[in-house]
């Protein structure tokens, strides 16, 4: 038995959430008295891959077939299954992401594995295998027993704090057998913002709602985000109105995030909005209406006009 961790690269670097998964998977290996191997697909240099060792993994399998450059969930699932088989892995760990989620779903079917999504703590292995996971988009937790031999744990981002050591991992090339049927879906175009901080990976997020009045006013939101090195997000009506792209929409029907800091500007705080952000560590609300429900779920609040408050906050950050 061993633990296999599926790690992702973004622009050549291991994603922050993948480092969390590597650390988590290594701890699971420690708890169960086995070793942790990381699988990475795509272009990445050896130094970057060896970094997995600092987070607890002993070995990295690297597959860099040209066919594996597009995030093809079905092909990835087959490759992960093959690696799990080679390593004799019963536990597969990954961080939730748009690619990992669909990969994990296929993998669960392929391996007949029990999949626990949004896992937020290390498992209890004292009697069986039990994980704590977030359900109802953060409104409750379920202690879930994984009773199948194979288990897949999808870790919720920014809930595990990795510790780094000086250890290194060995990097081995992995040559999976690719299967044509896995490439039945053709990617015809990819549009992805480059250079921006990815919202689901961001530690700090500045978000705005209908209180901003129109897309032409987003400059003050972007300025504060830039000063903080934060990502930008928005409420559902804002993306419905096409003021901002859909991938910035957070909430019940949008992206679920759990950053260290979430600053909500001109957002009323509807329960469906809170569902996407309630696991943020610190929440700041800026709203001109002192009765806005969001203040009840905030740690810090300013009752004021965003058009006056945001530029002052930006200046204060720049002065730090």
């Amino acid at each position: 038995m061993s633990v296999l961790i599926f790690a992702e690269l973004d622009e050549g670097a291991l994603k922050k959430s993948s480092l969390e998964a590597i650390y988590y998977g290594s701890k699971v290996a420690e708890l169960t008295g086995t070793s942790a191997t990381v699988l990475v697909l795509g272009e990445g240099n050896a130094d970057e891959l060896a970094k997995a060792g600092r987070f607890g993994a002993s070995k990295v399998l690297h597959a860099s077939d040209a066919q594996l450059t597009e995030g093809n969930a079905m092909a990835y699932a087959s490759v992960v299954a093959e690696a799990a088989n080679q390593e004799g892995a019963d536990v597969i760990v990954l961080a939730k992401s748009s690619l990992a989620d669909s990969m994990a779903a296929r993998l669960a079917g392929k391996l007949k594995a029990g999949l626990a999504a949004n896992v937020i703590e290390l498992p209890d292995v004292s009697n069986g295998f039990r994980v704590k996971r977030s359900i109802f988009t953060g409104k409750a937790f379920a202690f879930t027993e994984l009773t199948a031999e194979k288990k897949i744990l999808a870790i919720k981002k920014n809930t595990i704090t990795p510790e780094e050591t000086e250890a290194t991992a060995t990097v081995e090339a992995f040559k999976p057998a690719l299967n044509n049927a896995d490439f039945a879906v053709k990617v015809t175009k990819v549009e992805k913002a480059t250079g921006d901080i990815l919202l689901p990976e961001a530690d700090l997020v500045v978000s705005a709602g209908r209180g901003l009045k129109g897309p032409e006013n987003w400059g003050i939101v972007e300025d504060l985000a830039k000063a903080l090195h934060a990502a930008t997000a928005c409420s559902k009506p804002v993306s419905d109105l096409d003021w901002r792209p859909h991938h910035e929409h957070v909430g019940q029907t949008g992206i679920k995030i759990s950053p260290n800091l979430y600053i909500a500007c001109g957002i009323s705080g509807a329960i469906q909005h809170l569902a996407g952000v309630n696991s943020s560590k610190v929440i700041v609300v800026i709203n001109k209406d002192a009765e806005a429900p969001f203040f009840k779920s905030a740690d810090y609040g300013i009752v004021g006009d965003v058009f006056e408050v945001l530029p002052r906050l930006t200046k204060a950050v720049q002065a730090l």
């Binding site: 995030g71 969930a73 699932a77 992401s97 748009s98 989620d101 669909s102 994990a104 779903a105 296929r106 669960a108 079917g109 029990g114 999949l115 999504a117 977030s134 359900i135 109802f136 953060g138 409104k139 409750a140 937790f141 379920a142 202690f143 879930t144 027993e145 994984l146 009773t147 039945a184 879906v185 053709k186 990617v187 015809t188 549009e191 992805k192 913002a193 921006d196 990815l198 530690d203 700090l204 903080l228 859909h246 019940q252 800091l261 329960i271 469906q272 569902a275 309630n278 610190v282 203040f295 740690d299 810090y300 609040g301 300013i302 009752v303 004021g304 408050v309 204060a316 950050v317 730090l320």
Partner: protein, 245 residues
Amino acid sequence: MKILVCVTSVPDTITKITLTDNNTKLNKAGVQFITGPYDDYALSRAVELKEQLGGSVTVLNVGESDADPVIRKCLAIGADDAIRVNAEPTDAYFVAEQIAAIAKESSYDLILMGRESIDYNGGQVHGIVGEMLGLPSISPVMKLAIEGSTAKITREIEGGHEELEAGLPLVLGCQEPIAEWKIPNMRGIMSARTKPLKVVEPTGKETLTHIANYELPPARGACKMIPASEAETLIKLLRTEAKVI
């Protein structure tokens, strides 16, 4: 176009979650059940495709009889008939096995689901069903157009989206803005009463997970208010007190 839409019956998004039976069960008392919002998107797009291309829309739920009102609402929105697999659906693998068994009985061109259930947030049933049926699965789907026997799909990825093409049949996990949510009208509600809702017994009973008990998150502390005239203080507090910047 023969479309199967899989729907969940879930607590309304405004529900305050409470627990009973020594924290081993969710308290259903006073909870309003609705169709999963993502499933609603899937259903709305299915009905649009039927209007455009002809064919039929079948709704499928794996659940107990308390899901029937939600199923009737799906019929009122425009589905032609419904199937309920009569079982308590507590495990994604079990649910997927039921859906795959139903799908094998008829040849559907599309099997539409939501990207994830809003209760257990697993996001996995479409992938498992795809694997069980040997069909491609794609999620989360933001746009879906059908041209002949090819589907043109826009899928959300981190920081953007990608455009995909695949031949039918397919299993898709849907999200906005694939369609506008449809609201049932009076005629739909009347006709839903007589549309067929077939109840079938489950095949197999294997599960891979089991929920032992639940917990509610701790309440957030009081909100510290900062006067707008001293907005700069916030930045200081975020650095020295909250230590997040």
